[in-house]
Subunit: 417 residues, 2 copies
Amino acid sequence: MPVNYTTPSVTQLLPVDGLRLGITEAGIRKAQRRDLTLIELAPGSQVAGVFTQNRFCAAPVQVCKQHLAGAETAIRALVINTGNANAGTGAAGLAAAQASCQAVAALLGCEATQVLPFSTGVIMEALPVDRLIAGLPRCQAALDGSAQAWHDAAHAIMTTDTVAKAASRQIDIAGSTIHITGISKGAGMIKPNMATMLGFLATDAAIAQPLLEQLVKEVADASFNCITVDGDTSTNDSFVLIATGAAGNAVISSPDQAAYTTLRDALKAVATELAQAIVRDGEGATKFIEIQVDHGRDVAECKAVGYAIAHSPLVKTAFFASDPNLGRLQAAIGNAAQNHAALSDLDVSQVRLWLGQTLVAEHGGPAASYQEADGAREMAAAEIKIRVDLARGQASATTWTCDLSYDYVKINADYRS
Amino acid sequence: MPVNYTTPSVTQLLPVDGLRLGITEAGIRKAQRRDLTLIELAPGSQVAGVFTQNRFCAAPVQVCKQHLAGAETAIRALVINTGNANAGTGAAGLAAAQASCQAVAALLGCEATQVLPFSTGVIMEALPVDRLIAGLPRCQAALDGSAQAWHDAAHAIMTTDTVAKAASRQIDIAGSTIHITGISKGAGMIKPNMATMLGFLATDAAIAQPLLEQLVKEVADASFNCITVDGDTSTNDSFVLIATGAAGNAVISSPDQAAYTTLRDALKAVATELAQAIVRDGEGATKFIEIQVDHGRDVAECKAVGYAIAHSPLVKTAFFASDPNLGRLQAAIGNAAQNHAALSDLDVSQVRLWLGQTLVAEHGGPAASYQEADGAREMAAAEIKIRVDLARGQASATTWTCDLSYDYVKINADYRS
């Protein structure tokens, strides 16, 4: 059960002009499971993406990077399978990803380099590419730009997710109505470093390609790059931003335009909703935790402190138990220097720590005003906010994570069986 | 239940001449629990220690560092309590640690600066120093150099440990019989960075103080600094090496002497046994896992890969499930660069991975000869050896860890209650 999240209904999602989706059951891993999604983009659409930093990056990620680097080749389609990640599959995996692009290209009448492939599921098993290719004509026949198609696609990209994740916004830019809709998936192997395992965000706004590439990074950094479930960055993380241009607004060409800010903020809102939904649906999650780190020297050290807290199994199990075991939080803060050397001169006597509105620690010890009953009340909530003041600069960063429960172990001990 | 480890019997432990131990029930946290240990050293004993790198280091660690830095002051006693870590306790905690040293000094007729304090247990709660001090005369009355006293002390320093940890060796140096006995504790918040939460190793060998200080680092690096349970470096990690000199051997004064090598190797053997015992008794552990990383450019990058594997919750739960989910191992290796930038040019197509004697992955994918049945057989064992060949240098490093089970969550969700 995700923490305070349910999939939006079809009526809450918005079609994006210039984009159609087709879903089918290809039998990639299990029968009678929608597991293959084709997204077709109208001519003139622009695409930018960010991808995992894992050195074992998956075959489809390698192909995506190649195809996006060919700047002259407009992307016309995305093909997404669940059930198999096509990662850790060597040369055969690369050939399979390329074959899936060729099959899409043949159906749609474009070049293979105009297709981006995405895979999610079990790692280090061969992708059954024949079944994938056999399913593509059914995807093509089903192509549809409706909110229902988006809703179906959100379901068709799930793996250990317990709910589908989708979000929409509508904004107005100089009289043009702009639609934004995104879908994402992920529940484990979640500590995106650039982007999370499969986030797709589309708008019908028109925007210059260089700005779209700036935008995808800004949006990822404010959303998917702020979440972690287990600290394990996936081999397949991919976040893609699509702008079809079909809304007919004057092309946004400068970050100084008000239209850029309006579009960026709306995209960030949708991406943040999708990213938080991944944490709320984190494997075994019973709590949603926001960690705000303030007054660091730079964002990197604030994030290092946030991740040190978010990745500590002792902190995460204390959240699961609703136990205000504040020493574990302090110990985690004190450990952040191990992965971020600039923190090795952190003066812990200056650090202050809040649970919700309650100041719990300062001067290297418990706050004088702190009562354990207050800590227990804050920890009992389904949503918990931690604030850390490092007292040595002006930077801040926020991290979202979840707790570590019995079900986390159960899900991951059973995943392949 | 620890993995293939039981506490040695009293007859397997050796007294160390020049050292006596006294244990009592001081009621630090729970009644009827041996929780206070006093160790008295004969005049002329030498002591060296290494301590946690956690920025929130505990009050007793701060006091130990001060007292050891006073090079002219010979250490005469150690006082160790369990039940309370006296960490995250600010100025009051520091005063409590100093008060415990003063009380020991008054009893033994030495200076407070000749006493080293150690605490383990819950963090960020006030140390009940009055109860500690009230127990000291009973410890003094019980002082005893026997193997039984060592055995008792190994029990009296436990927290969430399920077994006491102790080990002995006897060696001969130029006709003098040398005894080495050590005790350790720890089951969670274990990822020592310099030393683990409470390891005490004593010998009656005579050795020059500068060499002892070199030796404590060498021994820690080869033993306690190679283990991790949960990646959470404690606030209280302390590893202390005591040389009483009572064996009467000619003082070892140079690392080039054969006697130095003989002593070092025996100390490493005892320390490694104690360090591995901590992993075997890791919270909820059902598997003992050795990760050997070869052919890295330097030890640091080999250790970074080892810890990336050892800290991945997905890898640890796969071990618990005996699931040869090799993709999780690859993903963890691919992530090591996040905490060790020098690995960002790791060529994963050159990396080879073994489970036990079985080559499971190479060329970025499964090995051609790999059969899942072989992987399943290796994973089913209680002791599992992983070997990673990075194929880019001559350095190696070994890391020892355990799996992540339901019981890990249970222990840590229940710890304070």
